[in-house]
């Protein structure tokens, strides 16, 4: 683990221990609903608490859970990996809630919990505003409500939602994000509006986990072809826990198809690869390179044709690596300052201390 680079950890996950933890942040009506209706937790199938992937074995507490306190983050990640800053991306199942009013209430409570229980307890922490996309107007309001607190540095949605993120119904959200200088973070996981594959429900968690790779491709295809990236050139989109090695092949295919049928989407006036290189960033845990071919990482970096797109993240407490090997092997030494810090500073305006609006 390289030190002394002032690393910025772009993806760590505080875990809500139970619905009761959010109760103090709910109003009386929703607190009552939670109690009366027996809503004890919102843990989702994207991250089953006991599976090996969700919490690394040596990061679990006596009860088998983890990532429930700032102290754990400090001793397990911030300290060992030498991070100057870390961005909290809460993955509690608020996106799965079908009642939009309930979703908005729970999501607000989640964001307030993150602020009070995490941001207020360590100055190195920043966070994402979790968005209740069940109600676009409420999602915009949530951005407006929290954007004045500059420790919120991006907004967060899941890779698998109701509809592809490029669709115009989401554009008011992107207007608000651009207004406040906030990137859109898209994290692995599903709201379970659709099966994890376009060919139906998977049998195994392994299949389900790897299927996030397809969701990220679909989201980028949508953000490009709907004209969303073109419409919002100042919007940065950060793919979190997406894996990386799939990206070149995806762009080669989309670019070729675009050349063939661009008359269908005449507003896309630059190649998908250019748009994505300018506006899309990816975290590198996992990277998904082959384990037996040390040269492959350099080949993939060549295929990406950019050193500016990748952001370091530990993905704590998810199990992506053992010990302190938080940087995927194979990166050239010369790229580490960008990977560990500079690219994050270039992506997250608020980490540079800039004012939000341009």
């Amino acid at each position: 683990m390289p030190t002394g680079l002032g690393a910025i950890d772009c993806d760590v996950h505080p875990m809500v221990p139970a619905m009761s933890a959010l109760s103090p942040y709910l109003d009386e009506f929703w607190r009552d609903q939670v109690t009366e209706r027996g809503i004890t937790q919102l843990d989702g199938q994207s991250w089953p608490v006991n599976t090996p992937k969700t919490i690394r074995a040596d990061w679990r507490d006596a009860k088998g859970r983890g990532a429930s306190t700032v102290a754990e983050l400090q001793t397990q990640a911030l300290g060992p990996f030498g991070a100057d800053l870390a961005i909290l991306n809460p993955l509690y199942g608020v996106q799965m809630v079908l009642n939009a009013d309930m979703a908005v209430a729970f999501t607000r409570a989640l964001n307030d919990w993150t602020r009070a229980e995490w941001l207020d307890r360590d100055p190195r922490l920043r966070a994402s505003i979790v968005l209740p996309l069940q109600d676009i107007g409420a999602a915009v309001e949530e951005i407006e409500r929290l954007a004045p607190d500059r420790r919120f540095v991006q907004a967060l949605v899941l890779a698998m939602g109701d509809a592809p993120l490029g669709k115009r119904q989401f554009w008011p959200v992107y207007e608000a994000l651009v207004r406040h200088g906030l990137p859109l973070g898209v994290h692995a996981g599903s709201a379970y509006r659709h099966p994890q594959t376009s060919v139906g429900w998977t049998s195994w968690y392994l299949e389900e986990y790897v299927a996030n790779q397809q969701a990220f491709q679909s989201q980028l295809a949508s953000l490009v072809t709907e004209g969303t990236l073109g419409k919002f050139p100042d919007l940065k989109v950060v793919l979190l826990e997406s894996g990386v090695t799939w990206l070149p092949a995806f762009l080669w295919r989309l670019g070729k198809t675009w050349k063939g049928v661009r008359f269908e989407v005449p507003w896309v006036d630059r190649s998908p690869a250019e748009l994505v290189r300018d506006q899309v960033r990816l975290s590198v845990q996992p990277f998904d390179a082959p384990e037996d071919d040390p040269g492959a990482v350099q080949r993939i970096l060549d295929h990406l044709r950019s050193e500016d797109m990748l952001l370091w993240a530990s993905d704590w407490p998810h199990w992506q690596f053992d010990g302190n090997a938080a940087v995927p092997p194979g990166f050239p030494e010369a790229m580490l300052p960008k990977l560990m810090r500079d690219n994050a500073l270039a992506t997250y305006g608020r980490l540079r201390g800039e004012e939000g609006s341009r």
Binding site: V199, V210, Q213, E226
Partner: protein
């Protein structure tokens, strides 16, 4: 294992055939089309013929009459010059297919992959089985017996595995058929045990199973909902095939059937290494869930999966494609034109001339001869 017998060396490359195709030029993706449903009538019972007239094919989407949810970029997604001068739709006329494609490009062997209307993926399993059977008889009668350069695919009603297995067993041993054909968008992931009888029958018959990009699963075309554009649908052919490879591997299909060969046609291929790497990496952490896998996922992929060239991904820097082809394995890549569709690959220009000659030779013909036993 197939015995490989190379044809005698030929000094006379026919017009159109690339010089590097010294093991012959095999096109693994040609789409014959019926003039109309009536072409299938001789092999349909009175009941299903009447059903076809009154209710018609019903895919797992809302449109009827062959109208796709995402309108194609051209009528029937075909080359404008592929409409036979004598009338009819592209690739519906053997004479014109011969002159426009087989002769013009020097195709030695062409594999037919009939698409809609073929009965595949129909919501009515009984109709699906009846129409698929008729399509296979139609292939024999209309294409395969009159033209020795063509090979057929056993079109199966894949949502009914038992009926599919019966259709495969009926065709086993008939040299006119070289593979079993499924569409890439099945109603459940392809590795699901409900489909295993298909793979068992195919392995028993010594036929590879091809997945051709297309079909309608009934689910949204992405795992995050319905996209808007045809360009997205084309992109999603790759993602659905990625899911199918994952499912076939993780469900243990290749562990169960060590001789099964799977050919991905028109699915692209540059994504395959990344899928294999990702599966390996996360399998190491989730092995406990899938003890039926005795090898790393990438090993099953390397041993059991072949890919076709068209549409070949196009990197901004051409040589990057060579990295990917090498990762997949030069012996796994089969040439395809996709005739008569708009995104047809001309054999003279499609395979990069920068590849070593023996690699081009194998892509044009040698690899297909090995996998199909031609």
């Amino acid at each position: 294992m197939n015995v490989i017998q190379a044809p005698p060396p030929r000094a006379d490359a026919r017009p159109g055939r690339p010089a590097a195709a010294t093991l012959g030029l095999v096109d693994v993706d040609i789409h014959p089309r019926a003039h109309s449903h009536a072409d299938f009538k001789p092999w349909l019972s009175e009941r299903w013929w009447r059903y076809a007239q009154e209710y018609g094919p019903r895919a797992r989407h809302g449109f009827t009459g062959g109208q796709p949810p995402f309108p194609k970029a051209q009528p029937l997604a075909c080359r404008r010059d592929a409409w036979p001068p004598g009338g009819g739709t592209p690739a519906s006329d053997l004479g014109f297919l011969r002159s426009h494609h087989l002769d013009a490009h020097g195709i030695d062997i062409g594999v037919l992959n009939p698409l809609q209307p073929s009965g595949q993926g129909d919501r009515n399993n009984g109709f699906s089985a009846a129409l698929c059977h008729a399509v296979n008889e139609w292939q024999l009668e209309t294409w395969l017996r009159p033209e020795p350069r063509l090979r057929g695919s056993v079109v199966v009603p894949y949502e009914d595995a038992a009926a599919s297995a019966a259709e495969i067993r009926q065709r086993a041993g008939d040299p006119n058929f070289c593979q079993v054909l499924m569409m890439s968008r099945t109603a459940e992931p392809a590795g699901n045990p409900r489909y295993w009888p298909i793979y068992e029958a195919a392995a028993e018959a010594g036929l590879p199973v091809a997945f051709h990009a297309f079909g309608y699963s009934g689910w949204a075309m992405t795992n995050t909902g319905w996209p808007s554009f045809y360009i997205e649908e084309v992109s999603e052919h790759a993602t659905s095939c990625q899911n199918q490879v994952t499912s076939l591997v993780v469900e243990g299909v290749f562990e169960r059937l060590p001789t099964l060969k799977v050919v991905l046609i028109e699915c692209g291929f540059a994504w395959l290494p990344s899928v294999a790497w990702r599966l390996d990496r996360h399998w190491r952490h989730l092995k406990g869930e899938v003890p039926h896998l005795r090898r790393a996922p990438s090993e099953y992929i390397r041993d059991h999966i072949w890919v076709s060239t068209q549409p070949m991904e196009e990197p901004e820097v051409g040589r990057h494609l060579r990295d990917v082809m090498g990762w997949i394995g030069w012996d796994r890549i089969l040439f395809a034109t996709d005739y008569p569709h708009w995104d047809f690959d001309d054999p003279r220009a499609a395979v990069p001339g920068t590849l070593p000659e023996e690699v081009r030779r194998d892509i044009y013909g040698g690899n297909a001869r090995r996998v199909y036993g031609f």
